[in-house]
Symmetry: C2
Subunit: 236 residues, 2 copies
């Protein structure tokens, strides 16, 4: 039996950004790749690259994300490994692979990380290796390179599954937020509406959502109370 002799491993980062206009994902595009074929038919993709020989997976995700997008200190969590033997062998991806990889024919298994960023607190700058970095509204994401649409779907599933139980919603909000902002975030991520009164009743039971002695700034009418997240007050 032939066991894998020269297999490659990469990490791919699905970084979700959120602000009052909705949920976005961070994509890089290949348009400035040093390759004519690619230049004529550029695609968008998730920020990702091969790991280094002595690098841990999470360290690789942090490094690659920083190298490609200049984002640092992002909440990152592994969610799934993708290992279809043909995942980088589609025709659409060959030219780009030849332009960036020394062994473009190699099988690549990738480990997906999802990241969470409040767009009110961060503003990522594009880096030179990637053709460009952009926050794309989730509903406007088109066909991506490789199996990156599948990886994006997997990250979205992980985010939906973990939003409530893992207390990660706060990574997507500004440090001080209103209950309307928290409810909108839940509605956008979980793709359903909540009753305002029930939602607030449930939030009041969460001792880790702490009311502040502060109200919204710059609002003309009825500024709402601000809240913050205190992980020390987590019930469990």
């Amino acid at each position: 039996m032939l066991k894998n002799e020269t297999l490659h491993l990469s990490v791919d980062c699905v970084v979700f950004g959120y602000d009052d206009s909705g949920l976005k994902v961070l994509l890089i595009n290949q348009k400035e790749a040093n390759n004519e074929e690619v230049g004529q038919n550029p695609m968008s993709q998730l920020p990702g690259d091969l790991i280094l020989i002595d690098e841990g997976l999470e360290a690789a995700a942090e490094r690659v994300l920083f190298e490609l997008t200049q984002l640092k200190g992002v909440y990152l969590k592994q969610f799934h490994a993708y290992g279809d033997p043909n995942r980088v062998k589609q025709l659409k991806d060959r030219a780009w692979l030849r332009s960036v990889r020394t062994q473009p024919e190699q099988r690549v298994i990738t480990v997906g990380y999802f990241g969470l960023v409040s767009l009110q607190d961060h503003d990522p700058q594009p880096a030179s290796f990637a053709g460009g970095v952009e926050w794309i509204d989730l509903q406007n994401v088109g066909p991506l390179a490789f199996d990156h649409n599948e990886i994006l779907d997997g990250a979205m599933d992980a985010l939906q599954n973990q939003l409530e139980s893992h207390h990660i919603s706060f990574e997507l909000l500004p440090k001080k937020f209103t209950l309307s902002q928290l409810q909108s975030l839940y509605e956008v991520v979980l793709e359903k509406k909540f009753d305002k009164r029930n939602f607030r009743k449930n939030v009041k039971r969460m001792s880790h959502v702490v009311p502040l002695d502060e109200k919204q700034q710059g609002v003309m009418h009825k500024p709402a109370q601000l809240f913050s997240f205190n992980p020390d007050h987590l019930d469990d």
Copy 2:
């Protein structure tokens, strides 16, 4: 920068088995490995091996589990990839690696799958490659080879997190079960006690837990009603 040239990828299976005596995990031991050094200091480990060059990850997990334990048709789910650069470089694991691998010094990244088996429905047979296959009570698991204790802990976390929301508890029960059996399983996996009356009230709301027109067999006193799981009746 040195990117991974000859990295290896494996799958490891954490198969949980359950019966009325508790939760167990399937371990193989190295004692019959063709190597004197190992023979003097055998360790237990999770069933796992390198993937084949053209094999998907889930297919690899199924194959490896079957080759090492003869188990087939098991519910298997990927939960985490482990990639510490030193995870197979501890002294305790060198002799065994030399006895089974052509490149024992290679870095190995492993993808963990957890499996669920009702021990009232299955009886795994040991296979020839592994020294032996045994169901070990979770609380009796000692130090394992490599980082397999950490992988076991990760699988347990995944099982606890997914038990309720993913409707997987039924994989650990016989096809027909009593509500006492369902409650005991929840208590063992989630490591907490439930109030019998509340537990039953909650179960009655689950349309996928279907009461059967049948009672326990072979019980002297008050045979309990049997239930079965119907995935077609899942609410969401």
